[in-house]
């Protein structure tokens, strides 16, 4: 198996010692099928155990390994070393405060997510003798929006959120829209407060960057439109 040396520039920030983040370089011998996450894991296991970052599934499902790779927000498990130059810069997701190294603070989005009521709301009691039925056509209206893994790459790509973090943002608006489109849901009016607010859909200026970087092709820009 071919080994390729990768110069990995990683943003480091230790809140107890640093005034601001700085970059630290590591030389990583990568195997040809490695993703950037493998290279970061190599650093953690062999070169520097103090490096802090989030990851879990390594297969684009958990959404926790989103980072800036050469300035682009992406899942590190989906971004392969073979597609990148010999020098790669890894930073924490843009537009979020840095907790430590590559770990960002997501409290703001979590709070917004809760406000959007991303669950089925019923005004009428559920049918007693049967399950809710839903046609395939009704399912396909929103299925694409269920693919979101909350990686928050879209927030990192969104200049509107960067300039004004009171904007509800792409993923939360998409999730609210997903439930609004669900034929089993009756909570559309309950979500209007957050969607139609001045920090809701109206703040989107349709840059479209969220849809371009989304690793799951959810297309948040379409949901917002």
């Amino acid at each position: 198996m071919n080994i390729r040396e990768l110069e990995l520039e990683v943003m480091r920030y230790d809140p107890e010692q640093d005034q601001e983040p700085h970059f630290q370089s590591y030389t990583v011998p990568c195997e040809e099928d490695w993703a950037i996450l493998d290279a970061i894991n190599y650093v953690k296991e062999n070169l520097d155990t103090t490096l802090a970052y989030r990851w879990s599934c390594h297969m684009m499902v958990c959404g926790s390994c989103g980072m800036m790779i050469n300035g682009e927000p992406s899942l590190t498990c989906k971004t392969f070393v073979r597609d990148l130059p010999d020098k790669v810069r890894v930073e924490p997701l843009a537009n979020f405060p840095i907790e430590r190294d590559l770990v960002v603070v997501l409290d703001d989005v979590m709070e917004k997510l809760e406000r959007a009521k991303p669950y089925i709301i019923r005004k009428e009691p559920p049918p007693e003798d049967q399950e809710y039925t839903q046609s395939r056509g009704a399912l396909y209206k929103f299925k694409q929006y269920t693919m979101c893994v909350n990686c928050m790459c879209c927030y990192s790509a969104c200049p509107q959120y960067a300039l004004d973090s009171s904007f509800i943002g792409p993923a939360v608006l998409t999730l609210a829209h997903r439930y609004n489109l669900d034929s089993r849901d009756q909570g559309k009016s309950d979500r209007l407060d957050i969607l139609a607010d001045q920090d809701g859909v109206w703040d989107c200026s349709f840059v479209g960057a969220c849809s371009e970087v989304c690793p799951k092709s959810v297309d948040p820009a379409a949901a917002i439109q």
Binding site: E20, P21, A94, I98, E99, G137, P159, G208, A222, Q225
Partner: protein, 132 residues
Amino acid sequence: MSRQPYVRPISKTTWYMRNGRYKRYMLREVTCLLVGFYSLLAIFGLAALASGTPQRWDAFLASQQNGLMVAVHAIALVYFLVYMTFDWFKLAPKAMPVQLGEKKLPALVIVIGHYLAWIVVSLVIFWLAGVI
């Protein structure tokens, strides 16, 4: 251990220089200045027409036919095509997705539909203006 999250600064005036995607967006949005320019031009033209004096209307038409104005119109046309028409037509499937039964109409079909409608509307306008 104390938490001290670090907030990276962002420039309010040069944020769009960060990548090509943002620059393209700004180039598209700048077309609003051209829209403003043509709105003013339409007001001047209408004022000349409404004045009822053929000399004013002729003077307005003549002012649009000098070399400088023809160059401005040509540049504006190309700029509108590249950064307004192409860009917005490309985004149209996001703004108006069409679902037929279980399937969504492919984005390309919606984009082509817009171009066809644009050509038809343009031909009608040319016909009304007596150009064709």
